[in-house]
Structures are given as structure tokens and as C-alpha cells.
Amino acid sequence: MKIILRIIFCLFFGAFAFQIYAHHAFTAEFDPNAPINITGKVVKVEWINPHAWVHVEVEDESGKTVWMVEGGTPNTLIRNGITKKTLLPGTIIIVRGYQSKGRLCLPICIANGRDVTFPDGSKVFMGSSGTGAPRDGTDPRELKRE
């Protein structure tokens, strides 16, 4: 009887551990079916752990929209080649990524950043690799889907 209870207990906590592992940040907040491709001016960069945020102002016929684009940790960004000196406010960048699930732009649009293209044409990843974001095959560091 006691052994059965113990097994039930282990299964219960084991299931919890698995759920939390599977409940990943990307799928919890972002929509893999809502890819974005925006060009705009960097207005602000928040260098915050565990996710940095790049605020990009996009201008089109309807006016200006600010996008808050989530990146990896400051450490990840620097390893990928995005630093406080290369991502200065005012820089025009192209960002590919995925919009938040709500798709509401109130008061600003929110997205998860896949990669950034700088004015000189160099393209770097901004931290979504391996987080549960769609593996589009562009990042060779990502393992192929099983």
C-alpha cells in the first residue's frame, strides 16, 4: 500500500516537472503563425535579463507604430554580435520575428525577435534560436527537428 502511494506521489511530481519544462516561453506568449518582417528605427534598447527588449519605430502610410521586440539575454545578444555600440538608438534595422499571441498593438506591438539585419547588411540572430520558436532552418546552430 505504502509503495503504491509512493509511486503515485513520484508520478504526480514527475508530471508537474514535465509540464513546466514543456510550457515554454515562446509558445506561451508568441504566435508561430504570425511572422513579422519590419523595418524601422531603434528608439530604445532595454538591456534586461532574462530578455532584452528592442523598441523599433516603424513608419508607414498609417503613421508610426512602436514594436517591442524581445531578444535573448544580454549575454546571448553579445555573443551573437549585438552590443550596446552596434544597436544604438537611431539605427535603422530590419527585424524578422513572430508577433505576440494577442496580436493587439495596445499601446505598442509586441514580438519575439528572430534576427536583425543592420544597415551594413550583416544579419545576426537575436536569441529565439532553440527556445521553441519555429525552426526555419536559417540558424545552423539549431538542431534539426527529430
Binding site: R6, F16, A25, W47, N49, T73, P74, L106, I110
Partner: protein
């Protein structure tokens, strides 16, 4: 008042250095999780022993005296690293409903520990020979539920679904997170 304090904290040099740090923040985060393993990990086994589900051949007094130093060590490290994590991101954490709920659960857990230890110092000597009273079983199971809740709500702090800068939110969220500043800014849009 607490909001002003959080804003002041967030503008201090070390707070900025912490949340921008390349290594220190993840190290503190990892130490926080490890300290939870020490604190709640040892606590779980004592709870299971009190409920008669594990280590039944060990006497409660021996089990307690052996695990308590680890529990206290874990608790100390947990509080220290937790304070540092709060210090790194004060305003958002202060306004986070999961953080607030977690503090509430920790308070309940603390009261439960206090009640348990008071009861143990009164009559705990008898538990090694006699049956453990039902009230202790209840305290042990309450402890398991509360600390599991603390871990879950602690993990949820990372998700920003209910953050004040994400509006519109239901009224109860804005109330529970006291999002006054964000709401007054929203009116400009």
C-alpha cells in the same frame, strides 16, 4: 510608497548593473533555484515523514535534527538570492500579480511552520513513541501544498501576460497589481 521605493531602487547603479549583467544574473537565478532545492527539498521529506509516507524507520526527532540545518541554510540562501533578483528588476516584480501571490503563500507557509514548531516543542517528544496526531498530518499536507504553490507562482513571475504595461487588463488585474502609473499614461494614447 512601496512603488516609489521600487522606482528608486530600480534607478540605483547596482540594480542596473545586475539586470544588464552577462553572468551574475543567471548565476543568482540558478543559486535561487538551488536554494529552493535545499529548503523545500528537505522540508518535503520531513512532511512526508510526518505523514508516515517516507523514512518511517527514522525517528522524527532524528530526522528533524538532521535536516533542519539544511532547511535553514536553503532558506537563508533563498532569501538572499531572492532579494537580489528583486533588486535587479524592482518595479516590474513589485507590480507582478504572481509575485504578490507568492509572497502571500510564503506568509501562510511561515505561519504554518511557526504553528508546527510550537506544537512540536510542546509535545514533539512523544511523537517518536506514540502515533502522530491528526493536526500534524494536516500541517504537513498544508505545507506541501503551500510550498508547491510558492514554486509554481514563482515560476509564473517570468510571464508578462498581466504586466501593467500590457493593457487593457481586467479591472481585478489592475487592482491586484496596482497599475496606477501605467493607467494614467494610457490615457495619453
Amino acid at each position: 510608497m512601496l512603488l516609489e521605493f521600487s522606482i528608486w531602487l530600480s534607478e540605483t547603479e547596482w540594480s542596473i548593473a545586475l539586470h544588464e549583467s552577462l553572468y551574475l544574473y543567471p548565476w543568482i537565478e540558478s543559486a535561487h533555484v538551488l536554494s529552493i532545492c535545499f529548503f523545500i527539498g528537505t522540508l518535503i521529506f520531513v512532511d512526508l515523514r510526518l505523514m508516515g509516507l517516507a523514512f518511517n524507520k527514522l525517528s522524527i526527532s532524528e530526522m528533524n535534527s538532521k535536516t533542519l540545518p539544511w532547511t535553514i541554510f536553503g532558506f537563508g540562501l533563498m532569501v538572499l538570492t531572492g532579494l537580489l533578483l528583486f533588486y535587479a528588476i524592482p518595479v516590474r516584480t513589485y507590480q507582478n500579480i504572481f509575485f504578490r501571490f507568492k509572497l502571500f503563500l510564503i506568509l501562510l507557509g511561515g505561519i504554518n511552520i511557526f504553528l508546527f514548531h510550537r506544537q512540536m516543542s510542546k509535545e514533539g517528544g512523544k511523537w517518536d513513541e506514540e502515533n502522530i496526531p491528526r493536526s500534524v498530518h494536516i500541517k504537513a499536507s498544508v505545507s506541501l501544498v503551500l510550498w508547491a504553490g510558492v514554486i509554481i507562482s514563482g515560476r509564473m513571475i517570468a510571464y508578462n501576460w498581466f504586466d501593467c504595461d500590457r493593457q487593457p487588463q481586467p479591472d481585478w488585474v489592475n487592482w491586484a497589481a496596482s497599475c496606477m502609473i501605467e493607467l494614467s499614461q494610457m490615457e495619453d494614447f
